[in-house]
Amino acid sequence: MSIRVGEAAEAPSFQKAALPLLDNTQLRKNVRHATNVITNKRAIVVGEQHDWQQLRAAASSIKEHTLRYLDHYLLQFEEACTKAGGHVHWAADADEANRIIIDLVKQYGGSEVIKVKTMTSDEIGLNKAFEANGIHPHETDLADMIIQLGHDKPSHIVVPALHKNRQQVREIFMQAMGLSELGDKPEDLTNAARHYLREKFLKVKIGFSGANYLLADTGGVCVVESEGNGRMCLTLPEVLITVAGIEKVIPSFRDLEVFLQLLPRSATGERMNPYNSLWTGVHTGDGPQHFHIVLLDNGRTRLLNDPEARQTLHCIRCGACLNTCPVYRQTGGHAYGSIYAGPIGAILTPQLFDMQHSQSLPYASSLCGACYEVCPVKINIPEVLIHLRGRVVREQQSGANLEAVGMKAMAGIFASSRRFEAAQRLGRLGQWPFVSDGWVRHLPGMLGNWTSVRDLRPLPKQSFRNWWREREAAKTQKDKADA
């Protein structure tokens, strides 16, 4: 099975990719501003939701339950959706999904497609596949449009263009839309997008979407959005094609009562996002009269097979973990070399895709736990990160690896208090070449990453245990003397 993610296969390691981003003043200012605004808004609307923890618990249970009976719920969805006039396709990997989608577009005689924001289509590299087949995809979400017209890459799963400021967006729009004049107020830019896209919405016959939820009991599909571009794509075209990861299914219409409360507050800090569209197959005289949905595996069943990591599939793509992550807040999304950035990307990317650089992703976290705290479906991201680190270590065991040698030696030392004490003594003696004026300022090798910006106090002359031993000895002597 070949699995791929857009163009990320040859991405550099997180450490390398982060370097130029840390020096990108504009990007860091934009990312800081955006994440601050969303986290503050989120904190307010989550704070007022007094049953937040109960909602999280229910969502986590529903997801866990669904994954346990995923085969049943997918078949139930397939049956209900087919009965309602939809066509259900199954794709084992990205190539198969792209092939199905492109064949459908050709079958309906389309050369253009209007798209509502979908991470899954980015995951399978659909736009590239479209273009290779002479089909032009129009991204219609404002941020996705900024990315597409600017030949850029998304840096956030909810607000993909958060790394761009208004002046940068203005330039992209002027060039791509052939405008000689355009203001740089967000209103001006939004208006330009409205005019540019309205014509496409009315003209293009094929719409393409992702899905937030597939309802097993009714065969319905739910898409959550803000701008109305989603409703345009889901309503106006004659044909609608949707792609959804198999983990997007939930048992019942009723379960929306949980997820529709958690998602908007987590994603954009709103009590509810402006539009949720829910449709079931084909509705006569209302919306597209041909509906196809592609259920995508692309590595998800492999992930399901790992009991400790399968909770990753609970993810509802709200992006709250990105906004709160102190690492993401420094680098933005591009350092992660994948369309899935931030903490969730650090666990999702290495599990979904076979990429060399993805071995660095489980380490792109200080394990501070802020992601787990905000996750609306209670994915214990730090726990999964540690689990994946274990996998990376096992996979790297073969070669002679300085870190592994050091770690094993340390483990040997900690296996005996005598060895530990000997190591403490050795450290006190051996550290002197690195100590100058009473401080450690330069260490060799990997440890040099510490001393590049941080001083280190040398090991003190006496360890705690030696102090304790001396004190006990003095006490015993005193007791003897007293006796």
Binding site: F14, Q15, A18, L19, L22, P326, V327, Q330, Y363, A364, S365, S366, L367, C368, G369, A370, Y372, E373, E383, I386, L388, R389, G390, R391, V392, V393, E403, A404, M407, K408, M410, A411, I413, F414, A415, S416, S417, F420, Q424, G427, W439, M446, L447, N449, W450, S452, V453, R454, D455, L456, R457, L459, P460, Q462, S463, F464, R465, W467, W468, R469
Partner: protein, 247 residues
């Protein structure tokens, strides 16, 4: 009360003053402190870096040494988090039901220092005196794993002479993260820069926390930049008295 001290490997080696302070503080409060000399490390660094197999014997070792303790006091929230969050499933993974039982029996008796003082011993005022301007950094594990909330702050507010100032973004990670600071040194440095800015803005003389690991990181930056600001473990503030003045 008979209190067994698990000092932790890095406090033992790098921060003996913290251990001495814990002993002085607890003895001042009329408790009997024991220090089993066979102790080494809880296994956190190995476990969190991906060397989970190597951490297993350290877990067994800890359990063997402390299973008969009345209570265990640990002046490091991240080591307590390691023990509380991971030991049960590590024991399960060993498939050793006796070990699982031992872990489950031991865990409720393991306390981080401020938990021990406030929750177990019912103290918020330990009679300390520390006439300095101090700011408190809420370390990640203390906050999001142990859920200490304001326990350390309650202890600090009762210290006589202290001028306690709250820092902005008190709950933001300092960027240490164990091997993270080395593996992702540059991103870690950027996070540290943010934390140092927050510490400096308080105009405190020293920054305190319940973890010397974070403090070592924060101090590393504060000292490199010659800010003149110190870091001091909570235990050292609480052990300090007008008579003793740091002994």
């Amino acid at each position: 009360m008979r209190i067994s001290l698990f000092i932790t490997c890095y406090n033992d080696t790098l921060f003996p003053e913290t251990g001495k302070s814990v002993v002085r503080l607890l003895e001042r409060l009329s408790h009997q402190v024991e220090f089993p000399l066979e102790q080494t490390c809880c296994g956190q660094m190995h476990y969190n870096t991906g060397y989970q197999a190597e951490a297993m014997p350290m877990m067994r070792r800890f359990v063997e040494i402390f299973q008969d303790a009345e209570v265990v006091c640990i002046p490091s929230s991240s080591c307590v988090a390691m023990i509380r969050d991971h030991y049960p499933k590590m024991a399960e993974a060993c498939g050793d039901s006796a070990l699982v039982e031992k872990v489950n029996e031991l865990l409720p008796r393991v306390y981080e220092l401020s938990e021990l003082l406030v929750n177990k011993l019912g103290l918020e005022d330990v009679g300390a005196y520390y006439p300095h301007r101090v700011t408190y950094h809420a370390s990640c594990h203390s906050l999001r794993s142990l859920h200490l909330g304001d326990l350390p702050l309650r202890l600090l507010r009762n210290v006589r002479g202290i001028d306690l100032v709250e820092m902005q973004n008190i709950d933001q990670c300092c960027g240490f993260g164990g091997t993270f600071a080395v593996k992702n040194g540059d991103v870690s440095a950027a996070m540290l820069a943010d934390k140092i800015r927050c510490v400096e803005n308080t105009q405190a003389e020293s920054c305190t926390a319940v973890d010397n690991s974070c403090l070592m990181h924060i101090f590393g930056g504060l000292h490199r930049q010659r800010t003149g600001i110190k870091t001091v473990h909570l235990a050292e503030i609480l052990a300090s008295t007008e008579e003793g003045k740091g002994e």
